[in-house]
Amino acid sequence: MSALILSRLQFAVTTSYHFLFVPLTLGLSVLVAIMETLYVRTGNETYKKMTKFWGKLFLINFAVGVVTGLVQEFQFGMNWSEYSRFMGDIFGAPLAIEALLAFFIESTFLGLWVFGWDKLSKKIHLLSIWLVAFASNISALWILIANSFMQEPVGYVLRNGRAEMNSFLALITNEHVFYQFPHTVLSGFTTAAFFVLGISAYHLIRKNSLEVFRRSFKIATIFGLISVFGVMGIGHLQGVHLVQAQPMKMAAVEAHWETEQPAGFNVFASIDEQNHRNTSELKIPGMLSFLSYNNFTAEVKGINELQKADEQQYGPGNYVPPVTTLFWSFRIMIAAGTIMILLVLIGIFSLKNQRFEQKNGFLKVLLWAIPLPYIANTTGWFVAEIGRQPWIVYGLQKTAAGVSTVVPAGQILTTLIAFTLIYGVVAVAAVYLFVKYAKQSPDEITAKPDENVAKGASLWT
C-alpha cells in the first residue's frame, strides 16, 4: 500500500477513535456542571452523589480523550507535512489558540475539580467544572474553525507558493463554522444525554438508588430533547448551505448522478459507481429539491454535471468522492438520529409522575440505545471528511499533494499497526472501567475512589 493510503487510513483510525471520546466530554461536562450547580444551590446531597457518579465516568472518558488528542496536535506534521507547509499559515493559528485558550483551562481546572473537593469553597469548586465545560466546548469551536477552512476556504490569498491568511476575522466568521460548530456541540450534548439515560435506565430497572437516577433521567431527557432537535434543525440548514458551498459532496451523499428539476430524494439506492448510475432506487419526488433549497421545484445539480464543471475549473481528474460510502453513512446517521428523536419524545411524555419508571421495556431500549449517538457522530464525520475528497482543502489542495514525502510507507504501516494496537488496549481498559463504574451504586463512589487493597508488592517483584 502507498504512503498516501496508509496515511489516510491512520488519520481515519486515530481521528475517528479520538472522536469517540470527545462528544461525551462536550456534553457530560455540561451535565455534571448542571448537577453540581443544583447541589450548590439546594444543598441536596442527592445532587452531590449525581455529580460524583457521573463525574467519575466523565474522568475515565476525559483521560482517553486527552491522550488521543495529543496525536491530533502532531500528526499533521508527521503524516501531512506538505499540507502543513501549504496551509500552516492559516491552519496553525486556530490550533495554537485552541491550546492556549482551551486546553490550559480544561486541564488546570479539571485538576482543581478532582483534587479540590476539600480544598476549594463550594462556589469555586463549581466554577471549576463550569470552566472545564466551557473550555471543552471552546476547544471544539477552534478546531472546527480549522476544519471549516478545509471545507470552505475563506480569508486567504495564494502567495509564496502557499495559502496565506489575509483576514483572521473572515477565518473565524466562516459561514461553515456557524453550522458545523453547533451541529457538533449539540451532537456531543445528545451523546451525553443518551449515555446518562441508558445508564440511568439500567439502574431504574433494578430499582437502585432511585433518587439519583430518577433525577438524572429527567435532566438527561430534557437536555437530550433540546439537543437532538437542535442537531437535526441545524443539520438541515447545514445541508442547505453545503449544496451551495460543496455541491459535489451533497450530490454524492444523495447518489444524485444527473441534474434534475425537480429532484427526488433517494431513500435507498443500489449504486453503480463505475458507470455513474443507480441500478435501482426508491425515490421521494421533489424531496431533494426541498432539502436543498426549501423549495419543491428547484433544480439540483447532479454528480456528472458537477464533475464536468470541476474539470473545467481545476483541470482533468476525478472529483467524485466515494458515493456508496457517503450515501450509506448519511442514511445511517439520519436513521440513528430519527430513532433518538422518537426515544426522547417517549421520554418527555413519560416524565410526568415518573411514569418512565414503570416502563421497563422502554428503559431496556434506552440502555441499548447508548451506541446510537456514537454511530451518528462517526458516520457524520465520514460524510464531512470523505465527502471532501479528493480535496484536503476544498478547491485548493488535493489530499494526495498534502501527504509527507519523506516518511516511508513501511514506517507508516508500523505506526498504523502500533496505534491500532495501543488504542485497542486502551479501549478495552476504558470499556471495562466504564462498565464497572456505571454499574456501581452511587453510594460507593461518593466514598474515596481508592481502596488500599494492593499492599506490600514492589513493582520490581
Binding site: L70, G77, F91, A93, E98, T108, E164, I422, A429, A454
Partner: protein
C-alpha cells in the same frame, strides 16, 4: 525586534516551561518503581503530581501548536523527519496519560502494577527522547535544499544525542526528586532526599560530559548568550546539589528548575536564528525567516499570545498555590 524573533523566544519559553513543569512530573514517574515500595507509597508519589501533570503537558501541546502557527516549515520538517521518534513520544504520553486515571480505578494488584509500569515507561521515554530531539536540532540532521529531512532513523540517534537524552533523563529525575522533597513527608521524605543526593552527583558528571561534547559536536559556543546560559546551567546544577545537602529543599528545587530553564535557553540561543540545523549544508538550515508564517499571521498570533499567556500563568500559579501542602495519605485521589 521583529516578530519572527519574538516567536522564536516565545517557543523557547514554552519549551522551558514544559521542561521545567513536566520535567518534575516525568521525574516523579521515573522514580515511582524505585521509591514506591508498595501501593500506598506509589499512590502518595502519584498524587503529588495528580492535580497538575495534565496542565503541565499542555505546555508541550501549546509549543507544538505555536511551532505550527509561527513556523509551519519547522513543524512540517521536524515532525515528518523525526517520524518514528515522535511516534515513540506519543506512545509514551498516551500510556502514561491514561495510566494516571486508570491505575486507582481498580484494586486488582496486577492492574495497578501494569499501569504503574506504564507511568514509569511513559515518563522515562519522554524524558529521554526530548533530550535526544533537542540535541538533533542543534547538532544538525540531514536536511536538503527543499527543507526535507534526507536521513533515516539512525541519523537521529548519534552518541551525542543519546548523551543529551541521558542528561535530560537525569536532570528531570533529579528535578522530580527535589519536587518530591517539597511534597512528601515522614519516611518517604527521607527516601526522596537520599535518592536526590545520589542522582545529583551522577547528573553533574553526565551534564559536564554533555557540555564538553557539545563543544566538539555543535557550534553552540559560537554564541555568547548560549555559552553564558550553559555556564549558568552548570552553576545552578551545582547549587542544587549544595542546597540539597544543606537541607534547603525549596532552594534546591528552584536551582534545579533554573538548571532546566538555562539549559533550554542555551540550546535555543545556540540554534538562533536557525530552528533546525542542516548537517548537509549550513545554508539549507531552517531559520526563523525561511520557516516562518506570514507577517500578518505572526501579528495576529502575537496579539493572541500576549493576551492569553499572562492569564494562563496566573491561574496555573494559583492552582499550584491551592495544592501547596505536602501530600498525606488522606489526600489520595488517584
Amino acid at each position: 525586534m521583529d516578530l519572527n524573533i519574538l516567536w522564536f523566544i516565545l517557543i523557547a519559553v514554552l519549551f522551558a516551561g514544559f521542561f521545567f513543569l513536566e520535567g518534575f512530573d516525568f521525574g516523579v514517574g521515573i522514580l515511582l518503581p524505585f521509591l514506591g515500595k508498595n501501593d500506598n507509597e506509589r499512590r502518595v508519589l502519584i498524587n503529588t503530581i495528580g492535580p497538575v501533570w495534565d496542565g503541565n503537558e499542555v505546555w508541550m501541546i501549546t509549543a507544538g501548536g505555536a511551532i505550527f502557527a509561527a513556523f509551519p516549515n519547522w513543524y512540517a520538517t521536524l515532525f515528518s523527519g523525526f517520524y518514528l521518534a515522535l511516534f515513540v513520544i506519543l506512545f509514551a504520553l498516551i500510556v502514561r496519560g491514561v495510566a494516571f486515571e486508570f491505575r486507582s480505578s481498580d484494586s486488582n494488584p496486577k492492574w495497578r502494577n501494569l499501569w504503574d509500569w506504564m507511568i514509569f515507561i511513559g515518563s522515562a521515554l519522554s524524558a529521554l527522547l526530548w533530550g535526544v530531539a533537542c540535541a538533533d536540532l542543534l547538532r544538525g540532521v540531514p536536511i536538503d535544499a527543499h527543507m526535507q529531512f534526507a536521513g533515516n532513523f539512525f541519523d537521529l540517534i548519534p552518541p551525542y544525542a543519546l548523551l543529551a537524552g541521558v542528561s535530560t533523563f537525569l536532570l528531570f529525575t533529579l528535578h522530580g526528586a527535589l519536587y518530591l522533597s517539597l511534597k512528601t513527608e515522614g519516611e518517604m521524605l527521607n527516601k526522596v532526599q537520599n535518592a536526590a543526593k545520589k542522582i545529583g552527583v551522577v547528573t553533574v558528571l553526565v551534564v559536564v560530559v554533555f557540555a564538553v561534547m557539545t563543544f566538539f559536536e555543535t557550534d553552540l559556543f559560537a554564541s555568547m548568550v548560549a555559552t553564558i546560559a550553559l555556564l549558568l546551567c552548570a552553576v545552578a546544577l551545582i547549587l542544587a546539589n549544595v542546597m540539597l545537602r544543606s537541607g534547603k529543599s525549596g532552594k534546591a528545587f528552584v536551582s534545579s528548575a533554573l538548571t532546566i530553564v538555562f539549559l533550554t535557553a542555551s540550546i535555543f540561543a545556540g540554534l538562533f536564528p536557525r530552528v533546525m540545523v542542516s548537517s548537509l549544508r549550513p545554508d539549507w538550515s531552517l531559520t526563523i525567516y525561511n520557516a516562518s508564517s506570514s507577517p500578518y499571521t505572526l501579528k495576529i498570533m502575537t496579539i493572541v499570545a500576549l493576551t492569553l499567556v499572562p492569564i494562563v500563568l496566573a491561574y496555573q500559579a494559583w492552582s499550584y498555590w491551592v495544592f501547596r501542602k505536602r501530600v498525606t495519605e488522606k489526600d489520595l485521589r488517584y
